[in-house]
């Protein structure tokens, strides 16, 4: 077993870990040694090709197809330098006030989240994309919503020099998206933080991290790890876990923390989502331009769904269309005429939904769909159909409808679907990318895993700084909230660093 020693070890390099790394990096100038451990590889710029299968399998955990234990939903989360910030679309929103009230974390206010987020909005170049770079897939969404009298919002996004490749979810091939891989991690490394890629954390012991570094296989993408392949024992005075809402609770569980933290792994939420696909009579600009420029959130409180523009790649699109045979193929052949909308359900904390581990210590995510969630998905899909018809689509595919294809002249069918459509789990493709909870903030070990600053109850040497801290769904795209919370965690560490 190889041995290493650091003052602070950060596990994960996404929105949480990358932010903590940057915010603590000035401590390196004072002589502290800080390391970031990242399970995935760091790719060279020229390795981002935008090819679907090739990129998905190297950037995402299990290629983006991590299945829940029930086999009814796949989870997409990054496993690379920059974590999920390397594969998101960079949409930069903050939660509504009601979310912070519901969280009820002592001392945590929306004003504080907003104040901290301002710093990252500036660092990561958050802004609205100029009108001339909006594609028709996005414009048609706006047009349809306006004809229905619905209020759309434009996503601020964190891009710089965007060429409109539309390939955000496969890692930007132009290095335009300003995730932690482009901003916070390089800044941290310039200040002396070491980033060790291909480094999987096996378990934690008190002030110790046990890891396995993997070799780069011939013919695969990415740089080799800075360390030789093998197992290491890393001593650390302070450990920050930021491995995401699946892997952070799983790591703590396999390290034995579940014995004293009964809420560990509970409180998992995810924004279950499906795709509504519509066909227009003419080709539209869809696979060019930023894919996600607008959203509709006016039904988030009343009907528990959000709608977002989206444009997915051929395999994901094929997977998301229900059925098979000629009806399925005819939509795929219409690809240049397709408009897409992502329907996200605002789920809530349910005790049945949680992260556990299997006998080998691997994460297992249990997710049971409540009637409220499936109703939200159906109503969101029907609302999407009304939008695309208002925008001029000739037909739409609703995966829960029987049959799934609805011609514009049969739009009256939508009323019946909204009220009665059975939602056949296992048939309808549902995926989620906003994974949250599992190490929730709170007051005591009876109700949470950490305190309001990410300190794990009963283990002052151990912090959490990622979306697993969320006590309930954030109800919007989460990365900016994660960065704000990670900033809060890092600030507290800086205050306490003299005691290390």
């Amino acid at each position: 077993m190889n041995e290493r020693a650091y003052d602070i070890v950060i596990i994960g390099s996404g929105a949480g870990g990358g932010t903590v790394a940057q915010e603590l990096s000035p401590l390196c100038r004072k002589g502290l040694r800080i390391a970031v451990l990242e399970k995935g590889p760091k790719l060279r710029d020229e390795e981002f090709t935008g090819r679907e299968f090739e990129m998905a399998r190297v950037l995402y955990e299990e290629g983006g197809g991590f299945l829940t234990a029930e086999g009814t939903m796949t989870l997409a989360f990054g496993s690379t330098y920059g974590g999920s910030t390397a594969v998101y679309t960079g949409t930069s929103l903050l939660p509504p006030e009601r979310v912070l009230r519901k969280w009820n974390v002592p001392g945590l206010t929306l004003e504080e989240i907003e104040r901290r987020a301002q710093k990252f909005k500036a660092q990561n170049n958050v802004h609205l994309i100029e009108d001339e770079f909006l594609n028709e897939n996005n414009r048609l969404f706006v047009a349809g919503c306006r004809r229905l009298g619905w209020n759309v919002g434009q996503f601020p996004v964190n891009v710089k020099g965007c060429r409109g490749s539309s390939l955000c979810n496969l890692g930007c091939p132009n290095q335009a998206k300003q995730g932690t891989d482009r901003v916070q991690l390089p800044a941290a490394e310039r200040n002396g933080v070491e980033v060790i890629t291909r480094c999987e954390v096996l378990r934690l012991e008190e002030k110790k991290v046990l890891v396995r570094v993997s070799a780069k296989r011939d013919g695969t993408k990415g740089e080799p790890s800075a360390w030789e392949p093998g197992e290491y024992s890393i001593a650390a005075k302070l450990i920050v876990v930021a491995a995401g809402a699946v892997n952070s609770p799983a790591l703590l569980l396999r390290s034995g923390f579940g014995r004293n933290l009964p809420r560990l792994g509970y409180g998992f939420t995810a924004h279950p989502a499906l795709i509504v696909v519509a066909e227009h009579d003419r080709p539209i600009t869809n696979f060019v331009g930023h894919p996600k420029s607008f959203y509709l959130d006016q039904f988030a409180e009343s009907d528990r769904f959000l709608l977002e523009t989206c444009m997915y790649f051929p395999f994901i699109t094929a997977k998301s269309l229900a059925g098979f045979g000629e009806a399925h193929s005819s939509f795929m052949r219409a690809y240049p005429r397709l408009q897409m909308i992502l329907v996200l359900a605002c789920d809530r904390v349910e005790d049945a939904n949680r992260v556990t581990i299997d006998s080998a210590g691997r994460p297992v995510v249990h997710y049971h769909f409540t009637p409220e969630v499936t109703r939200a998905l159906v109503r969101g899909a029907v609302a999407s159909a009304r939008i695309v018809f208002a925008a001029g689509a000739r037909r739409v595919h609703l995966p829960m409808a029987q049959p799934p294809t609805i011609e514009e002249r049969d739009a009256a069918r939508l009323d019946g679907i909204a009220e009665d459509a059975p939602f056949q789990l296992g048939k309808v493709t549902v995926s989620a990318a906003h994974l949250q909870g599992g190490c929730a903030m709170g007051r005591t070990a009876a109700d949470s895993v950490t305190d309001a600053f990410g300190r794990v109850h009963g283990a002052p040497w151990l912090r959490v700084a990622d979306a697993s801290l969320f006590p309930d769904s954030v109800e919007i795209n989460p990365y900016l909230t994660i960065m704000s919370l990670a900033d809060r965690v890092a600030e507290k560490i800086r205050e306490e660093v003299s005691a290390l």
Partner: protein, 144 residues
């Protein structure tokens, strides 16, 4: 086939080698255009499926093999013939029954198999080009 991400590596031995005729019959039912693929295209199809399965737990592969055996033999009860001997319309009816089965575990099993087939078919660059998808890293510049 060399082992690179551009040409997906095969597991060794190929996970579904024993089921090739059945998988191809299923694929042609799910994506009718697959019937026109030549042997090279089928090799790419197989390699993509094998590559995706190679990263998955052994238990999942075992369940997939069990599911494939069930697909091959269950039609004997209803049609008096194995799946690979059925007419295309009968194959479609049988797969539709699985997709809409009252038991969620059956629906999920079919969803997983259908997903693999769609990956094998729509994961190929030729297919992507054929449906008119042409996203380019050059973005708007490539459209001018």
């Amino acid at each position: 086939m060399p082992s690179t991400e551009n040409s997906p590596r095969r597991s060794s031995p190929p996970a579904l080698a024993a089921f090739r005729p059945l998988v191809r019959a299923i694929a042609c039912t799910i994506v009718p255009e697959a019937a026109a693929m030549d042997e090279k295209a089928w090799d790419e199809f197989d390699a993509l499926m094998d590559s995706a399965l190679a990263d998955r737990p052994r238990e999942l592969r075992r369940r997939l093999e069990l599911f494939l055996r069930a697909i091959e033999w269950l039609p004997v009860i209803r049609f008096g013939r194995r799946f690979t001997s059925l007419e295309p319309a009968q194959r479609a009816r049988f797969l539709s029954m699985l997709e809409n089965h009252p038991a969620q575990i059956i629906r999920s099993g079919f969803w997983g198999l259908r997903t693999l087939v769609l990956l094998g078919y729509y994961g190929r660059p030729e297919t992507v080009a054929a449906i008119g998808y042409a996203a380019s890293p050059r973005g708007w510049e490539a459209r001018r």
